[in-house]
Symmetry: D2
Subunit: 348 residues, 4 copies
């Protein structure tokens, strides 16, 4: 059964499964990526091709850890993160940033999940005032939690603004591949060249089994991060199984293939939904998420065919996520089920 609940309801793509099998066949390999474990070194080399030789690469277990540890490393507890109120870090990590880093999050209300320098400016007033947390890291999500995508120009402007105010720019890239496909850009153009300081590079939502990557774009920021990773319980012993996945992911455009499928299916789904008068798109579709208002009564019925999450119950808005394994047939099936439920609803 397929769903549109989240891109982490899907399994692992065949190329990655094959890679896991292959790297398992290599017998004994040093644990923890230590002692020049060739699998880990090779994956790091691949990352440096995508992000530049100066980048520093650390594998962790999941996106929450990549976000929290990446940001924490750039700040002290009396410094603050600034993010959109809708940011995963603020909304969906059960207070992990606060507990793990000890830092406060200043949040910004947004229309579309994206923040701009002008949104951040009011917080600069706190600089130098000892009673206030000191703004230190601006964190954005690319793709945002509402499915929108920052342009390279927008990222570049935010990075410049951050740096000119003695702050850093972090990017939560749980869906960074979908953003790169949406923008038609490379990771280097979108992240390294725009001046981003640290990136949470995700893969699990795009066909991997587990693992996430903290990418420091400037080597001096990465100093001693290995100790932080260990202390924060994110150092995997059989490291090869994370490293090998990412090496394969960044080879022969696998990341792009998977994300392209997901994005295309989302566009197709949106196009079909727009034909239906009872359905209203709430955000433009750029990556692999489709946000629509549906008649409230049909939601639970439709969820029985294809599960999806209600996003904002106050306005009957739902989120439909496409994945690397979503097919045209899934779209057709969903549209059919929706039409049927709409019809049933009207007949009642």
């Amino acid at each position: 059964m397929k769903s549109f609940a989240s891109d982490n309801w899907s399994g692992v793509c065949p190329e990655i499964m094959e890679t896991l099998q292959k790297v398992n066949n290599e017998g004994h390999i040093p644990a923890y990526g230590e002692l020049d474990d060739p699998v880990t070194l090779s994956a790091i080399t691949r990352f440096k091709e995508h992000f530049g030789q100066q980048s520093e690469i650390f594998f962790v277990y999941n996106g929450t850890a990549a976000n929290v540890l990446g940001v924490q490393h750039l700040m002290r507890p009396y410094e603050a993160i600034i993010s959109a109120h809708t940011a995963h870090m603020n909304e969906d990590e059960c207070g992990a940033p606060e507990k793990i880093s000890g830092s406060k999050i200043y949040t910004i209300e947004t229309e579309d999940g994206k923040i701009k320098p002008n949104d951040v400016k009011p917080f600069l007033r706190s600089i130098g005032f000892q009673h206030h947390s000191q703004p230190k890291v601006i964190s954005i999500s690319q793709v945002t939690e509402t499915g929108t995508v920052y342009s390279r120009e927008e990222i570049s402007v935010l990075a410049g603004f951050a740096h000119s105010n003695n702050m850093y720019l972090h990017v939560d890239g749980a869906r960074i591949a979908n953003a790169a496909v949406a923008l038609g850009t490379s990771f280097k153009e979108m992240i390294t060249n725009t001046g981003v300081d640290v990136l949470s590079f995700g893969g699990t939502k795009n066909g991997l089994m587990f693992g996430e990557v903290v990418v420091f774009l400037k080597p001096e920021l990465a100093k001693d991060f290995e100790y932080s990773r260990k202390q924060n319980m994110q150092l995997h012993s059989k490291m090869r199984f994370i490293a090998a996945q990412f090496e394969r992911y960044l080879t022969d455009g696998l990341w792009k293939k998977n994300a392209s499928t997901a994005n295309q299916m989302a566009h197709l789904l949106a196009a079909e939904l727009q034909k239906i008068p009872q359905v209203e798109l709430t955000h433009d579709v750029t990556a692999n998420g489709v946000f629509v208002k549906l008649p409230e009564e049909i939601i639970p019925k439709l969820q029985k065919h294809y599960y999806f999450h209600v996003w904002n119950p106050d306005i009957s808005e739902v989120r439909l996520m496409c994945s690397w394994d979503t097919t045209r047939k899934d779209i057709d099936g969903f549209i059919d089920a929706l039409m049927m439920e709409l019809l049933n609803n009207e007949q009642m």
Copy 2:
């Protein structure tokens, strides 16, 4: 190439690889073990068969997390953990318990890595004295870091002592399967029936790819642990891939088969080593680790044939770990290499 460095240098056993492939083929499955994900539920059921119906089961990523989060849930920051000085928690987690839980660790010097009630008693003096961390959790490792194994009776006595002093007993079971095989006992007899409160149940060192389990033996102790797991960055999205491994691991005695191999190979290795006059065993072999003193000069040379870790450089002691995939041929090869290096050494 094989090594005796650690049981996490080995790969994943074939049964688990097959399971991962199989559970991947099941299409979409709810993330985070939510919405009655059948794979997660089924694995939990299997655990309850082994540990009792009242046990509560939570999957996390690794052993450090299982230790720290399991213990943290039973205490407040002003309460203390009591462990052997050699405990992994104290020695090899880069300060994770202190940072994540905020608690102090009181440590005990031991001969063999095992602690007894009499070792803990001096710390009871701190109870009620507001300037001292209050003893709350006794943590033991089963197998210990020096390869020794607590008997069921010893665990039972420690649990009783803990409870009669308003404390809890935690077991770091990174190698719990090796201990069960060594003792010829079930998990229930060794853990549930002895009165243990919380167990870190490991699998990665015995043939799994990733994942560890926090097992609360008393349901009231588990209350709200799901939030702690999430906040501490240990909730996996594609949960099925941890759950399925453990379900398979606990089925048809796979855990026992793997651990038996490792233990047998360690005994075989020890038997061979004891025949060599220049080699001295420093601990009895009960599980899958062999600790011996070697002539200092040959260590780096021998490591080039089969890598292993120096355990105590002051006395030229090394640790040789056997794994689920160690074979008689590996033992023979190691002994041959050792003999050759000893010979070379004497001729110099």
Copy 3:
């Protein structure tokens, strides 16, 4: 020179200075309030007269500590505080609650600094959802940061709402005496009888030198708090000097005398200000703070006569705080200076 900057710019009232001198003359007294230090015991007895015999009393150093430690003791790090966005805890403690307790703060935008059950309700949706911090403590300020005062009925309703949702109610009482005077009520009627769980009882802003009190209204909530106080660096060695101040403060209505003066002076100041057309009150005056809009140009000039803080620069709003030592002459002097600056301003 006098100011209207804050009630902590004033010194210590004569009765307290005399008490400090007296308790100093008593020679040696056990440190840390231990060994039945009679001064500490006596102060605790006095508190119990005001708050009920079941209350539990702990002296700490300042208001931030009383807030953070009082609240922290009622929750785990994955649980959340809910407060007005303007709360001192959220705005002016440099992220202390987040760092010290590890908890997230959910904030509410308010008109007047006061929150109602309906403001809290949306956060209840997070209960049981493992990705969200779990609401646990509602924290209100009495007097609020905008000078308003909750009625006993309002506190009682909030406490009932909290309890019926498995939450607690905390009151930041940095200016609790001013509130009691404003409401014409006792502490017991306002706090104990309304169902409050923990109170930060302040005195420094009302004539004391240092010290603040965590008052648990229900003894079971106070369990082990002495260890938390010590671990969080808030246990004073020469405890008698905090205890004696509070005993005197709660004797012969000293708290009431000081707070009455401050409140009366605020009302007088407000009455005078309302006569001036260029001045606009932004909040009703109930306790000892007066919030007004002034012509922007005169603010820095007027601050040279009598210093005060700009509250909201966007609307040229300032805060004028009266203290236990504010006199009618101070009010007259301020009004004269204001009139002069208004005149100068118009002539320019």
Copy 4:
């Protein structure tokens, strides 16, 4: 009644009481040491005279806070403190360093409470090993908890050792004045010139009411400490009352007068005790503490005359602390009581 329990059982010396009265008479003064509060500025100036112009001065509430915050500012949570096992920080702060800084403490067993570079060396092996907390701050107590005193040479050697290993040296100076008197040295010679990085400068044990000082000897280490102090709940609002005490303390040799009295009385007490055959000194007396073994039976009886703490119950060792207000008459009274109890004991 006098005691020999601790130098914090005594009250406040007359000069300080007078100063508190005087600074209270100055009317309104900016809170938090802000806006160029002249009292705070003047106290800082005085400190710079004693420690050098480059030193940076921060007032906090107590010694635990000075220790924890001073050390925390020099390290990240994955870095470790190294101290004697007997250090106050390790033994008597209820786990504050671990909770507040997140760091581990590596401890050293000592004869006399003093550590030497050779004691620290074994911990250097952990440097660069990602599973171990990274040694970062060596912390010593001057006077130590067993009453001994480091020579300037010893401090200098430790500082050099720390710096040459990329570490810092912290001094817990709860009794720093007693040490300076014992060594016949200035603070500058003992602390600044020996290369110490950060000092907890105590006064409460030597005649003050409350307050302690974090002295950074190198300005770059102090950067942003004001935010840490606030976030960790150690910023006093009526700052003048801490600042004025310390200014007076450092003026006209008050610190020296008080400490000299305490030290002299300790020497006198020790001299008298050495005349008694049933009493055995366990440490040389250098500062204001005397450690002796007494016949076990008489301890509780003697405590009723003059209270004191049992230090090591296993060997019937007690600690007798002298204070700024201890007199020859107190010594005589204590010796008389001791002789009487010894006599009674023998007659039983």
